[in-house]
């Protein structure tokens, strides 16, 4: 069984520079997440939740501080090392899905496989098709544009899970889903963390999802407002 890396964030500051102003979007002094944790990140709009996930995935360069997975600072390596690490370690579900409209739903799910030096094996194609089926996405559809938002969201989740990554970062993974699809996705996240010991960090507003997650982390204007866990609550 894969072992998820432990996450450790220290003195993280992310600053966006607009034309004339500099906005501190995120400021996290210390956060540790043990492998196998299912963590919910909540907070009002604009509080820096997506920014936080980007920082964890090494997609942006913080102004200062460190994001370390298993003690290894993300910024220590080269950009191509980070690319490779991200490919093998992180599954990312974007808030806006970021599917490629040029490709079919199945090709979107298989996209990360085309980055590998060996071409996609048949087993991977089966896995991609299987994920779509499991999430109830009609597999025959030719175009992303033909899918509903909820279906697109599930394609994005399937893509993130193609390589069975040890860490899943999901930005509002149930926002566009109805109750039953939402339940199913929530169950998937839960299983990943609890049965497979993967680290799952989900940004969410969804009460249904929040309720099922015991470790929570609330952001407000880029600052950590509150951290709670089931144990602390108990």
């Amino acid at each position: 069984m894969v072992r998820a890396p432990a996450l450790s964030v220290r003195n993280l500051r992310v600053v966006y520079s607009d034309r004339n102003a500099q906005v501190t979007a995120l400021s996290v002094d210390a956060l540790d997440v043990a492998p196998g944790t299912l963590l919910a990140v909540t907070g009002p709009s604009g509080s820096g939740k997506s920014t936080f996930l980007y920082a964890l995935a090494g997609l942006l360069r913080p102004k200062s501080g460190t994001v370390a997975w298993d003690g290894r600072d993300l910024l220590a390596g080269s950009e191509s090392e980070r690319d490779r690490w991200r490919r093998h370690t992180i599954g990312f579900v974007f808030q806006d899905f970021h599917l490629l409209p040029e490709l079919t739903p199945l090709a979107n799910v298989l996209l990360p496989a085309s980055f590998e030096s060996v071409s996609a094996k048949a087993s991977l194609k089966d896995r991609a098709a299987g994920l779509l089926e499991r999430f109830g996405v009609p597999s025959k559809r030719k175009s992303i544009a033909d899918l509903s938002r909820g279906e697109q969201q599930r394609v994005a989740l399937a893509r993130a899970l193609l390589f069975d990554p040890p860490v899943l970062l999901a930005d509002e993974p149930t926002a566009s889903l109805d109750a039953s699809a939402g339940e199913m996705v929530a169950q998937t996240l839960e299983d990943l963390a609890q049965r497979e010991a993967r680290t799952v960090i989900a940004v969410t507003h969804d009460p249904m999802l929040i309720e099922r997650i015991t470790t929570r982390f609330q952001l407000e204007r880029g600052q950590v407002r509150q951290t709670e866990s089931a144990k602390a609550l108990a």
């Binding site: 997609l59 490779r84 806006d96 970021h98």
Partner: protein, 406 residues
């Protein structure tokens, strides 16, 4: 790693633009290919047309003019070789063939040229049909002349040209001589394919000149009576061998005559033209370069529309090489398709121009795609691939998160 699906998907998405790029590259390449192929073919064709004309003796003046008139049968004024020189040259023992060329009238738009039967035989390398002329009123036609074997015709006077010392007054009606076609030459790929060869005596007689033989003598061809030989515009000799060729050239370099190898004249002409050729080649290369650069500018513009796509790929962990290949592969596709299209356009255009030139000059111009053209096209492709590395590397530099937000 397999960026192909991304490349194909992007090209499909912008099929119109990419088709336009391929067309532009193809047309620019095609023009370059056509120009170089055509130029090479023109040189080859004109040189080949002069093959059978080893040594030419003519009145002093411009060698180029004589080549144009005698070999390419271009209309123009050529001074006549003095009768005494003419007689001496026609009796030259060191030449296997020493044939006068006299320009006469025309029939159905074909030039009538007076010469010897032996030269006709030499030029055509044996006839295609019929036999050589043996009497003054007989004619052997070029392969492309629209007369039939056995057909009778009357030469009509007054296409394009006059002759110096033309004793006859020009008039525009048919000469009252009946000629008959007795043979047809093989195709020679020269303007002679559209000419009608007759005995030189016939041309002399029509012009009211002595006919090279005593009055009443019905014989044609050599030997001529020196006292009865008038001047001619040019004499073609086929020397026995190389040393005879140089010997004869010296003998006929006199105050009253010049002698030269047409091949040398052509080499000089090509030499003069080679600057123009180089210039044209560079223009073709520069045009191609510019087109490839503007194609790249177009690709870059399309790519910047796709910043987000690259950001997504990066966010999913696409390696640098993958991003590079996505961009580069598109340019490769355009360049390679453009090159193929260009070769096709070039070959087509060169063939068409050849056809038109052959129709107007009679010189067979075998335009072919050769090594030079392949180098030209290959160079374009290499240049495109090289230049494409710049946008291909830039694509990796797009900031990921900013591009995702756009």
């Amino acid at each position: 790693m397999n960026p192909l699906p991304m490349i194909i998907a992007t090209i499909r998405r912008h099929l119109g633009s990419y088709a336009l790029f391929v067309a532009l590259v193809g047309i620019a390449t095609g023009i370059g290919v056509a120009i170089t192929a055509q130029e090479a073919a023109l040189r080859k064709g004109s040189a080949r047309a002069a093959d059978k004309f080893d040594l030419v003796v003519a009145a002093p003046g411009s060698q180029t003019d004589v080549v144009m008139a005698a070999i390419y049968l271009r209309p123009g004024t050529t001074p006549l070789l003095e009768p005494a020189m003419t007689a001496q040259a026609l009796a030259e023992p060191r030449a296997k063939i020493s044939a006068p060329l006299g320009f006469g009238d025309s029939v159905k738009g074909s030039r009538i040229i007076g010469t010897l039967a032996t030269f006709v035989e030499h030029l055509s390398g044996g006839l295609q049909q019929g036999r050589l002329f043996t009497a003054e009123n007989e004619a052997v036609i070029g392969a492309a002349v629209t007369l039939a074997l056995g057909e009778k015709f009357r030469p009509s006077h007054g296409i394009e040209e006059e002759h110096d010392g033309d004793a006859e007054d020009a008039h525009d009606h048919e000469h009252a001589v009946d000629m008959v076609v007795v043979g047809r030459m093989k195709p020679t790929g020269t303007p002679w394919d559209n000419a009608v060869a007759v005995p030189i005596e016939q041309v002399w007689r029509v012009h009211g000149l002595p006919t090279g033989h005593a009055p009443g003598d019905k014989r044609i061809g050599a030997p001529f009576d020196p006292a009865q030989v008038p001047g001619v515009p040019a004499i073609v000799m086929q020397p026995e061998n190389i040393s005879a060729a140089y010997g004869l050239r010296n003998v006929y370099r006199t105050n009253a005559s010049m002698a030269f190898f047409p091949a040398e004249v052509l080499v000089k002409l090509y030499d003069i033209m080679s600057d123009v050729r180089t210039l044209m080649a560079w223009l073709a290369v520069a045009t191609q370069g510019l087109v490839v650069l503007s194609m790249l500018a177009g690709v870059v513009a399309i790519l910047s529309l796709h910043r987000k796509q690259f950001a997504i790929l990066r966010a999913l962990g696409a390696p640098r090489l993958y991003i590079f290949l996505c961009v580069w592969g598109q340019v490769v596709a355009i360049c390679v398709l453009g090159a193929v299209l260009g070769l096709a356009i070039g070959a087509g255009a060169a063939t068409l121009v050849s056809y038109l030139l052959t129709a107007s000059t009679g010189i067979a111009i075998p335009a072919r795609i050769g090594e030079d053209e392949l180098w030209l096209v290959g160079g374009m492709v290499l240049f495109g691939l090289g230049a494409a590395t710049i946008p291909a590397m830039l694509a990796y530099r797009y900031p990921v998160i900013e591009s995702l937000r756009s």
